[in-house]
């Protein structure tokens, strides 16, 4: 019954989306405002219904209802509760339902909370939102019904991919999807504004919290995904330039550009057409990302849904939405005035440079990710594009970008003097030069990119706090703190990336219990091998002690797990974190002589990569809260002023 109820809720939600779209279209075409009044409640009803449908699916997974095909394929009765719940979206159908549920809830949120936008723009926004949702509802109901029953009912399910049974990956997809959907709202706002020709600061201010929110979630999602790959795959890599990673990076790059250009539009009423374009691109990238991951066009560690038929469905949706939006943009861009003007050396100038560099990086990642597919599609050749290409092509641009990031906030709006800027950033420039000098002298054989990255990070770390210089810290608006924190986070992450790349030490050994290994200043002793059992796995566990110089001895236990349900082996790395880095120990197989492979890495400052990511997201969150608070306060002041008059 629960499955049928879920399906009914999904159908009802789909019809609500259709109604929402119809109300908007008819109202706009006929110019009758009475249609508009119904849009808010319909949007809210759609949100509630689709959320209900999703919760029912989760409930099916929690109950391990093995008469539902999806549960059978992705769950098993003996499994910790959290992974039963996360199993609901650790698969193709469930994750698409999660996507559309978040989209419906976001539409409901607009219906409830958005009060500043002109009625017409709001209605068009909700109409565009409904139009996107309809595509996804059609996809779910026609091509991938998550509530499909199975007969005869099997005794137990096949289980969730063991690699996905991890708290990091349980939370990773919802986080990313919230980000994607946030961008879909920015996109709907852009479509609404293009149709009603209402592009200006008001529109930018209404869109900004959504862009910021989406960006915060994307940042967190990518950071979490990177950390998951780092500790769960057992090889200590944190970024592989894997197509699926790129699929999440591309929307983030577009959203980062959008977030900066929307600020120019909100504050200075500039970059109108450009901001609209970025909103379209950002959501297109989310759709393309979903297409790449979900269609099976890539076969990679992440792609756990392989089905070309569904791929064509998503491709068609992609063509309709992106093609439609681009066509609308091309039609309307002529009527959008570029807005107010500025000199090259100005805050706007730096933000334009930021946007162009981010877009260039986005273009490179896009081409590098899709080129192998194009080659494979049009010739008999197969090529691989990976880290050497991406690092070489995007690295230098990224370094220029972060240098501009340090200088930009210190520039005035509209026009400024280059000389004055040099004065303001003299200390960071000096620090960067000093760090570069020290690194060249005291380290050996660092490659160019990490070397420059580390040196730049020293300067940026200081420069990011410069906007607070000589300001009354208690009266400084919260969004300025947000920017400072986010920019500082970039410096922190950069230090982590550069030092992990340059200073990691690796030891691979075949060891018998009693052996000792030295890595950097760590003394690692292999004590014993013992069998252990978990709720749904058995494992061989190595008892290892590790001691940094003369400090306390720590016990760690890397495991080699066998999952009964999946006949699959995973290695659980043991991590030991110090302030200055992480010790990473992995247990491999045994050989004929009864020796065990141990992989040991010492990765200096590697954790800064993810601390940096979290700081960046936190900065975005502060900026969002600050902006929202300010909007509320201004509204109150306006109401007060009107009351006084």
């Amino acid at each position: 019954m629960i499955a049928e109820a879920g399906l009914i809720a999904l159908w009802l939600a789909a019809s609500m989306a259709f109604l929402q779209f119809a109300l908007c279209t008819i109202g706009l075409v006929k110019g009758q405002d009475e249609f508009f009044a119904a849009i808010r409640p319909v949007a809210i009803a759609q949100g509630v219904l689709v959320a209900l449908s999703f919760l029912l699916l989760v409930w099916l997974f929690v109950r391990s209802d093995m008469s539902v095909k999806l549960v059978v394929a992705n769950s098993v009765a003996i499994k910790p509760l959290i992974y039963k719940i996360s199993g609901a979206w650790g698969n193709h159908e469930g994750s698409m339902l999660l996507w559309v549920a978040i989209m419906g809830l976001a539409g409901a949120c607009i219906g409830i909370f958005e009060r500043n936008l002109k009625t017409k723009t709001l209605v068009t926004t909700l109409g565009a939102q409904a139009f996107i949702s309809i595509g996804f509802y059609a996809y779910l109901l026609i091509a991938s019904n998550p509530f499909e029953r199975i007969f005869p009912v099997p005794a137990d399910g096949q289980g969730l991919n063991p690699l996905l049974q991890d708290i990091g990956l349980a939370l990773h997809p919802p986080t990313l999807y919230i980000g994607y959907v946030g961008l879909s709202i920015a996109f709907s706002f852009a479509v609404g504004a293009m149709i009603t020709r209402d592009v200006g600061p008001e529109f930018a201010k209404a869109m900004r919290p959504w862009v910021l929110g989406a960006w915060v979630f994307l940042t967190l999602g990518i950071t979490a995904g990177s950390y998951w790959a780092y500790y769960e795959l057992g090889w200590g890599g944190w970024w592989f330039w894997d197509p699926v990673e790129n699929a999440s990076l591309m929307p983030w790059l577009a959203a980062t550009a959008l977030l900066h250009s929307v600020t120019v539009l909100a504050t200075r009423d500039g970059l109108r057409a450009w901001t609209l374009m970025l909103a379209v691109v950002a959501f297109s990238m989310s759709m393309i990302g979903t297409f790449l991951v979900r269609s099976g066009v890539l076969t990679s560690v992440h792609a756990f849904a392989v089905d070309p038929e569904r791929g064509s469905f998503i491709l068609a949706l992609l063509a309709i939405y992106i093609g439609g939006a681009m066509a609308l943009f091309a039609l309307r861009v002529g009527t959008v005035k570029e807005g107010s003007q500025f000199e090259p050396v100005s805050r706007e100038g730096a933000l334009v440079a930021n946007n162009l560099l981010l877009s260039a990086i986005l273009g490179i990642v896009f081409i590098g990710t899709l080129y192998p597919l194009v080659v494979e599609g049009f010739s008999d050749e197969m090529i691989s594009v990976g880290p050497p290409y991406f690092n070489l092509a995007t690295g230098p641009l990224a370094l220029i970008l972060v240098a501009i990031m340090a200088a930009g906030p210190l520039l005035r709006w509209r026009r400024d003097q280059a000389k004055a800027l040099l004065n303001r950033i003299s200390i960071p420039v000096f620090l960067t030069a000093a760090a570069l000098f020290a690194l060249v002298i005291f380290t050996t054989s660092m490659s160019v990119l990490p070397l420059l990255g580390l040196a730049l990070a020293a300067g940026i770390a200081v420069a990011s706090f410069a906007p607070l210089w000589k300001r009354n810290l208690r009266r400084t608006p919260m969004h300025v703190y947000g920017m400072v924190l986010a920019h500082f986070g970039v410096a922190v992450a950069l230090v982590g990336m550069a030092s992990e790349t340059s200073f990691t030490e690796e030891k691979l050994v075949a060891a018998t219990p009693g052996d000792e290994i030295m890595v950097n200043n760590w003394k690692i002793k292999f004590q014993a091998i013992e069998p252990v059992a978990g709720p749904n796995w058995t494992a061989l566990e190595a008892r290892v002690t590790a001691q940094y110089e003369d400090e306390a001895i720590h016990e760690i236990a890397p495991q080699n797990r066998m999952f009964a349900s999946a006949q699959m082996q995973t290695s659980e790395a043991a991590l030991l974190t110090r302030w200055n880095g992480q010790l990473y120990v992995v247990l491999g197989d045994s050989d004929e002589q009864g020796r065990w492979q141990l992989r040991v890495w010492w990765k200096p400052f590697v954790t800064l990569i993810w601390y940096g990511g979290v700081l960046i997201a936190l900065g975005g969150l502060l900026a969002m809260i600050g902006r929202l608070r300010r909007a509320v306060r201004q509204k109150q002041q306006r109401a007060y002023a009107e009351a006084v008059i």
């Binding site: 592989f240 081409i367 080129y371 080659v375 691989s384 594009v385 990976g386």
Partner: protein
């Protein structure tokens, strides 16, 4: 008796013979003694694709074939081959698919000029933006 002993010995040597038939990969999980050579091998392994896996380099894969390839790379580097020689040897055997650093050729040239083209386009776009602004300002004044 001697014949029996011989047969008995043969029985025990069977696993050894099996190992000879399938060459083991001693350097799949073992580093080279020379750190300079190991570093060379390491950077090369990170740029080679594990052919049996999905989007993983041979440097970070548990697949047996990746182990064999790691061993091959280390052995060849230890024998004095340069990383580029090892790479071309592997490309000869497995095609361009094996390297994450695509060679520049008739098929891949658009990929390699793309970053430059994008950058030039971005600069051109920025210049156009600022120049138009300046003329606009003159018109306005």
């Amino acid at each position: 008796m001697t014949r029996f002993l011989f047969l008995f010995a043969l029985l025990f040597s069977a696993p050894v013979m099996a190992q000879n038939a399938l060459p083991a990969s001693p350097y799949a999980h073992q580093q080279l003694d020379d750190p300079v050579q190991e570093e060379k091998a390491r950077s090369l392994m990170e740029e080679l694709r594990c052919l049996k896996c999905q989007s993983q380099s041979i440097a970070d894969s548990d697949a047996p074939m990746a182990g064999d390839m790691r061993s091959q790379v280390r052995e060849r580097i230890a024998a004095g081959a340069t990383p580029e020689e090892v790479r071309s040897w592997l490309i000869e055997r497995y095609g361009d698919w094996v390297t994450y650093n695509p060679p520049v050729n008739a098929i891949t040239w658009p990929l390699w000029i793309a970053p430059g083209v994008l950058l030039i386009f971005a600069i051109w776009l920025a210049r156009g933006l600022f120049r138009r602004r300046k003329t606009n300002q003159k018109d306005a004044s």
